[in-house]
Amino acid sequence: MSEFILELRGISKSFPGVKALDDVSLKLRPGTVHALMGENGAGKSTLMKCLFGVYNMDKGEVVYNGEAVKIANPFDALRRGIAMVHQELQPILERSIAENIFCGRYPAILPGIVNHAKMNSDTKEVLERVGLAHDPECKLSQLSVSQMQLVEIAKAISVGAKIVIMDEPTSSLTMGEVEKLFSIIRKLRSEGVAIIYISHKMDEILRISDEVSIMRDGRHIGTHPAEELTTDMIITKMVGRQMANLYPKKSNVPGDIVLEVTNYTSINPRSFRNVSFALRRGEILGVSGLVGAQRTELMEGIFGLRGTLSGTITYQGRTFKCSRPKDAISHQLALLTEDRRQTGIFGVLSVADNVAVASLNQYKMFMGLMLDFKRINELVHSNIQKLSIKTPSPQTLIQSLSGGNQQKVIVSRWLANDPDVFIMDEPTRGIDVGAKYEIYTIIADLAASGKSIIMISSEMQELIGMADRIMVMCDGRVTGFVEGSDMNEEKIMELATRFESGMGGLDAKAE
């Protein structure tokens, strides 16, 4: 048998407009913890999904136990002894722990008849191994998120996995729970299981892992023994690249304060808390943070889409309570949401309807009885021209447009309301490179015309290229602001990973 249990050789994977993985190779030794690191979008999750059979790779081969294999789907991967604990859990909430663990491979008395006794006793056994004392028949909905995570791990153990992939397993765990997880990992390792551990948390990585592989822009940068690395070295390797001239020239000059958010705290104790910041006229404020930093949640809270426990918003000196989007809109706020398909476009409606839908109140005539379509059409045409939206006609359904053009339609929807403050959550996600530049230009032009922009992005390069100032969040808190020469990836990464030590308080709240 070779020294490696798993070898990934030359794996490439493209999505429309993006090369997600470019000739990536990785070698995994049995009985080790192998950390996989990189920025958001570096390709870690994509690589793991290729290995786990969720995606089909374009090129490359997987050698498992010295033998080239083709993993067709997640079920195939499980059967071969490769298990994955996903970052976003996919539990069946209304079924028991046992059924979740044995879903798709129930032990049977006769074909088609489930052996519940065996399923429950087997479940009890694996639950003990991960330190959960729950009844196997307990419904998953009664568990906390971290307990569900342990159930996922129990599931991986129960298939007798030789390789366990853990994608940010600690993102929803408290410090105490992390310790428990680490002891489980060490136990698995001593039993010869290889673990691929994806995380952003440097200290965790350096504590638990034996080897560290670093990825950047879909490429494998290097693999090193963990004891040879320091946090600084990892960060440099993760971000080290040249800034190209990818961004338009900015001519905006930040002026007086337009919007002030003070002590904003979510009703969810694990979400954003005590957030305060000020936004100037004509300023582009970047918001950075890792997955789970609660940036989107904060912006949705400000826009009235999520409940808040405390905090105030002040727009041009007037403080107001924002409990629904209408309140925000009437105070000249606009929100470009993160998930275009879920909360942005009206897929079955035309481009024209998508542009006009949020500003119809301005186009009523005959005592509000009917809409003035002449003026609406003028609005639609001028917006299509102004933002150079490429559409065959205003009557084309928006779902047939490219992502970039859909995004421009939504931007123009808000422009029709003439907002002062534009919150843009991942405005360039899922958009190809050329269209990205167009969106950047729109953002720069808006700022130059005196609009204020809050721009969330997971691509640090983009924020550094566009923002006047960057607010960095970590785990629901603002951990700092950077501007000028401080606006570099090392500094941002350091703030974005500044997790609260001594999570005792949180532990108590969760219980």
Binding site: P325, G347, M370
Partner: protein, 335 residues
């Protein structure tokens, strides 16, 4: 020029696909007309228009619910209650079986208005439950359906109501200038159709309705008052059921608690055949008219062909499934 040929062939095929329901409808009518010449008589035209008129008004009400990704199962029972209310208050003074012998002749417009108010209240009730308590429309209106039926039973004592006033039944039997193929019912349905077309296409409420059906979360982010819009949709539906029930009573010349039974399903079927998507956000008034017409034409055609009534249900069911399957293909081809 093989390419051009191909594209023109595609265009023809597309045209056939997009209008399959109408084409089949016309073809079937011609076939029945050839075999049974009286099918094209003036009397039959009036019959078809009158039948279609009432069903069309109900379908208009249901369509708003469907387009906003809801449904309304209470439509049929609401129509039935409206018909019973109308008949009760519009009986002849000299009729021996009068429900309320002591009340005199009430102005017919007052009765209509009263019915509209009552049935609209049930629509508002549906809307409030759906918008504020977030009960799924299917369940909400299932409940309302049963409630309305119960009220109707209590109100009528399960007795049939007859002896209607001539000025009331004339609404259903009369025609404009006495021209047989221009029945009042057709005119009323046309007016309702026009007002709803205007509402759906020319007002902000209409735009909001399509937006909610297309993507409710996006509608909320855009600042649309989704709750108010939904309540207006269900209230409007109630208003239309009130009118339809009033007309149904006049047309039948007498009613019972069974009036309107199952009409909601026919209305949903008609809308769907006419291209209203049950996934929300899609649907046109012209399509709804075609959908309802298909159904009524089918029924009359089967009568003319001498098909035994029991068999007509089997055919109707098959038509619903086939028509919608053809419609789905239309969208599937575009993906």
């Amino acid at each position: 020029m093989p390419k051009q040929n191909e594209s023109s062939k595609d265009a023809v095929l597309n045209f056939l696909m997009n209008n399959a329901v109408i084409i089949l409808l016309v073809a079937a009518s011609i076939a029945v007309g050839i075999m049974r010449p009286t099918f094209f008589s003036v009397y039959n035209a009036k019959n078809l228009i009158s039948n279609t008129a009432v069903r069309f008004i109900i379908a208009l009400g249901v369509s708003g619910c469907l387009i906003s990704k809801g449904t309304d199962l209470s439509a049929g029972r609401a129509v039935g209650l409206a018909a019973c209310l109308a008949a009760t208050f519009l009986q002849r003074a000299d009729y021996t079986g009068k429900v309320y012998p002591n009340i005199g002749d009430i102005n017919i417009a007052v009765v209509l208005l009263g019915i509209i108010v009552v049935i609209t209240i049930f629509g508002v009730f549906n809307g409030i439950i759906i918008a504020y308590l977030k009960v799924p429309p299917f369940i909400t209106t299932l409940g309302t359906q049963t409630i309305i039926y119960g009220i109707c039973l209590v109100f009528t004592g399960a007795q049939p109501i007859g002896g209607l006033r001539a000025d009331y039944t004339d609404i259903a039997s009369g025609s404009i200038f006495g021209v047989t193929y221009l029945p009042y019912l057709g005119l009323i349905a046309a007016i309702c159709g026009f007002i709803m077309w205007f509402t759906y296409n020319k007002t902000s409420h209409g735009k909001y309705m399509y937006a909610i059906g297309g993507n409710e979360s996006a509608a909320e982010v855009s600042g649309i008052n989704t709750k108010a819009t939904k309540i207006i949709i269900y209230a409007t539906a109630g208003l239309l059921y009130g009118i339809a029930g009033f007309l149904l009573g006049a047309k039948a010349g007498g009613t019972s608690v069974n009036a309107g039974f199952g009409y909601e399903l026919e209305a949903i079927a008609g809308c769907t055949i006419g291209g209203v998507s049950t996934n929300g956000g899609v649907g046109r008034i012209s399509g709804i008219l075609v959908g309802v017409l298909v159904f009524e034409l089918l029924k009359i055609a089967m009568v003319f062909m001498g098909v035994e009534p029991s068999y007509t249900y089997i055919v109707q069911g098959l038509v619903i499934v086939t028509a919608v399957a053809i419609d789905m293909r239309k969208y599937a081809a575009k993906k």
